[in-house]
Symmetry: D2
Subunit: 356 residues, 4 copies
């Protein structure tokens, strides 16, 4: 597909936060032509009417939301982004794939490879279990080769991205134990989606910091699946999400146990160098992973609006633990930006196209 200069794309469910961000990214993507956006709520209105922030762009004045219809979409676009609630995405993926489209799904519907695990976490049978094994988990830093040839991409969740990117290289290299992993995450309010519920009202979130959804968050299923693959043994982790009063961003603090105990400064330096080498090897050439050095620590404001994930780590001589920290924009690297990154790989475009 390399010699195409642009590919026709559509967004199903374009009215949520991820959908809106996909619109923003794809409208200015030099290799994508946005030909359809769907929304039951806004069908008939133009992008410019629904999203005032795009209202001055000619294309946004022309493109109207339509009712989602797989047959029509298949005629309008080659690659379809699904920005739908969990459970609804699969309904569209199945016919779209049959009609010859490539699908990039931002929901959780195809992230888990096992129908049994899906049922455990989502409380119902998977609607299209046959696709679970063909879907590619769209984490480019890990599955770039598979994404290149994928027909169905299950783009990772925001929490999983913030946890997996810092952890996978260490597990693969055997530098940390696969047991006892704790991930403590802070998420901006857009992470809840454009849900009109009292919990997400301004007055309920502003001046508020609070945990939620513990101890068994649905994202655990995909996180543990990928950690287990890296560790080559089943991994169970502790995960605590918190809601913090920012629009966008996830900050994750990981508590990890080095495989090798360090008992003195020399041992600590040696381990530090191994971790550094491990991360350099994994991400030194990645365009969207920023390894912080010196005294710098991740900060959500430094990744706001970008597809970058920041990673830093500290060894603690007092406790023997390794603390790894990451920051990302939950709507970009945690959702729509990562989906566009996969799109670029899938279509043979420069991986950073439309993302810098």
């Amino acid at each position: 597909m390399n010699n195409k200069t642009s590919v026709k794309v559509a967004i199903v469910g374009a009215s949520g936060y991820s959908g809106e961000e996909l619109v923003r990214l794809l409208l200015s993507h030099s290799h994508a032509e946005l030909t359809a956006v769907t929304s039951r709520q806004y069908a008939g209105q133009t992008l410019a009417q629904v999203f005032l922030r795009f209202a001055h762009l000619p294309h946004a004045k022309a493109l109207r939301f339509s009712e989602p219809n797989a047959e029509l979409l298949a005629k309008q676009a080659q690659v379809i982004f699904l920005a739908l609630p969990h459970g609804v995405a699969a309904e569209f993926a199945v016919p779209l794939l049959k009609l010859g489209c490539q699908v990039i799904d931002l929901s959780a519907d195809f992230r888990v490879r096992s129908g049994a695990v899906y049922k455990e976490f989502y409380a119902h049978d998977h609607p299209a279990p046959g696709l679970l094994t063909t879907a590619v988990y769209g984490l480019p830093e890990v599955y770039r080769a598979q994404i290149k040839n994928a027909l169905l991409i299950a783009s990772p969740g925001c929490y999983p991205t913030s946890i997996l990117l810092p952890t996978l290289p260490l597990l693969r290299a055997g530098l940390i134990k696969s047991t006892g992993i704790i991930a403590d995450s802070l998420s901006g309010v857009s992470g809840a989606g454009r849900k009109v519920e009292q919990d997400y009202m301004f007055v309920e979130c502003n001046e508020s910091v609070r945990p939620y959804g513990i101890p068994k968050h649905r994202h655990l299923s995909e996180i543990e699946q990928e950690l287990s693959l890296a560790a080559q043994t089943p991994v169970t982790i502790q995960f605590t999400p918190h809601l913090v009063p920012i629009n966008r961003g996830i900050l994750t603090t990981l508590y990890l146990a080095p495989e090798k105990h360090f008992s003195d400064a020399e041992g600590m330096n040696a381990l530090n160098e191994k971790i550094s080498a491990c991360y350099q090897s994994a991400y030194g050439n990645e365009p969207f992973v920023r390894l912080l050095d010196g005294n710098a620590l991740p900060d959500t404001k430094n990744v706001l609006g970008t597809n970058v994930v920041e990673i830093a780590w500290r060894l603690d001589a007092r406790t023997g633990r390794l603390i790894v920290l990451s920051a990302e924009d939950n709507i970009v690297k945690g959702a729509s930006g990562q989906a566009v990154q996969s799109f670029n790989i899938m279509c043979g475009f420069p991986e950073t196209a439309g993302l810098v």
Copy 2:
């Protein structure tokens, strides 16, 4: 001192956030007469001029900031609150105690009982090591009896309060292991004090969530001292503070290991009941500890402006861990409110006077 209706009090260093909150609490305290407030920066100005929010109160119009002077203060007040930076407080405590005052120190100067530990964490010799053993750690829920007769109270820090109150009863009861404790805390920006530094500017904090000061925060010294006393064995913990964009509040998430492994629902229920009984026994009658039940989880907005600490917990059957969460207002229960609570106990007033 029971039959006194009111006690003369002074605040040294009344211009910071803790000092300002002490002013607020003591101005409306029916058993305290605020006779002096000191501030080098504002000496000569009235409370009403410096703190516009009190400007309509007659007493705030009359009371002027003065230069701090121990001899003068000892004539003006019986109980002196020190809301000074670490290291400076001790300089005032020593002469004030000699002059017969009772001192409630909000700094870290007297919280650690060992001069060696103090030096390890604060990087200089303690200026008055003789007082370290006479000072009482002002956590009323733990040291009420000692506070009653104290001459020098070392009021706990905001992070320590949010960590110790949920953890101490479990350690004392032997319900959790003393090893492997992790405290992950989120603090509002007032926790940094009224420091005019770039890190705490609005634009640097708003839309930002970030860790800082890891892995060895100074507050660890007092936290580990108190945990060790409860566990009757040396305790070393992992502590990660984060800065979140709220004015006030600390939310702490504690990762704990139950002493007794639970392998099934029955075991989990039994343990749950033991933990519940332990907390009920420790705090069931405490006016400022709110044990949450049902589905409720701590939220900083629910303790804003109050002297209450909220506590909830969850057992995680998947990992075998106990997660305990707490929320407090870092300037009230984490600083000035707790100091007033100690004042009430020390003077024989109702413990909730001026705090509800």
Copy 3:
């Protein structure tokens, strides 16, 4: 009613922001006994269950929300606070008054004296027009004498309070023209009430500043009514409300034309002194009006959680205009605090009881 130490009170519609603040104020009011709170949504649950922030108070654990029922309420309380949506309040006020209760209504239902004006702004006939003339507009600084003997108090809205208090004395004294008045107001999000609508979601309000409801806001009816009474001539004003990302607070900027043109420094000084004397005379002894002097300007953070309204003014020699600025907490002085202030006056209690 002077010799009663306490009065039984009830709150109808206690689950909104004003209702919740009334709960807070009345639970700690030494002359009020809260005997009933109603809420269709929460009937059967205790105050402690619905409002976690009160959960540690014994009374909050005991008092349950009930379905609103006038006959029952009339047996439970002497003074009834109505914190209901506009239009609904009147339905309760009528039977409660017949049953001998005194009613303090926080809605707009009885603020306008003319049924015709009500219909113009609220688009339907008034449900109880006979009560419009007996209701007292509950602005204590203006109608204290009438409040003392009132059976039905129409407590003013948040915008009106922030506009009327700074303007009325100047109009009464003939210091400003009654024409050309502009009020530009900024309101925190709680001003919209606890409405679960997309406009008030965190992500829609945070990092957003926007006007709304222009040019004909409903509050204009009561504002212009009171301004006209003070000016003794019909007054029409320009009013522009804006939504700003704070929980609480209203900041109003008033653009006024001095009746007497000032052409030089001397004239300006003379006018300044007249304005100062006018405000001193009106508010010098008011416990809840803070006249700022020197360089100080109103700031919502300085009135947060208090019943105080701050007022400052500036004459502009370049334009000949008088700029007056006010700040208040929209839920306290702009709603529930003011209602309690009226309650105190009505019952003969100290006017500041429960409010400092």
Copy 4:
């Protein structure tokens, strides 16, 4: 300069908010090559070290801050952006112009054409009065032709841009009176620059809304100069800036008097059409002015991070006034974006290059 594909540019004073935004815009500008950034504070450090958000860009890793030196800068770049405090910019502009550079100054130093007006508002003689008449006021929608050939551009302030763009067409068309204009503006905290002062600390700004700098703000000098030119008569306006707790954005509400009184619906409709036609004629083809229609009103969140200014208006039949509202990102259209827009015009590049 049309046939050049890229121009070498430098930023003097690149460490403030406007400077940082210039860095962001110019690093990704396909026709600009950023060859030098200066900062006394950060000289010697790379862009990547100082601004972590750019740390993954190869160019940011290579480019180091230098001490500002006109002779060196003139060798490094053709177009120099000055993002310096008022008063300091002129010191660099003079030698740079002599050395043959083109200068785009973001400070107020060359915005006022009269040395006397400059002195009145800035309280000292202008350091280079000879340049005041050659400088071009860099508002592209008004001075596009002059910008094309300018050597020195005085890029407008953030408040002036938000006030002038909505007002100038109406004044030029004689649709509004030149007297009695009121501009009430709300600014995000970045408008104060990266000043480390107590007023701009997080805790002082969060949950705070307040006016400041009234009644005679320095920006009035350039605002009134441009309004007077449009009205062809001296114009004096009322301007009240307020600080609101957002990072970025200015919302301006303008109170204007239509030249022609409208007394009925028909007159109002006719005037509405004239205003609409006036704005369409002025801005219908402007890439960075968004005229809102229907019920839409400006909102700072809809222009965040963009070079767009939003404009809407309402006629008020009750008062006879015209209310015009505008929203912009104070750091983009109000500063650095507008400067890049002028750069594009000056160099013959597409006007939207690097800005969409």
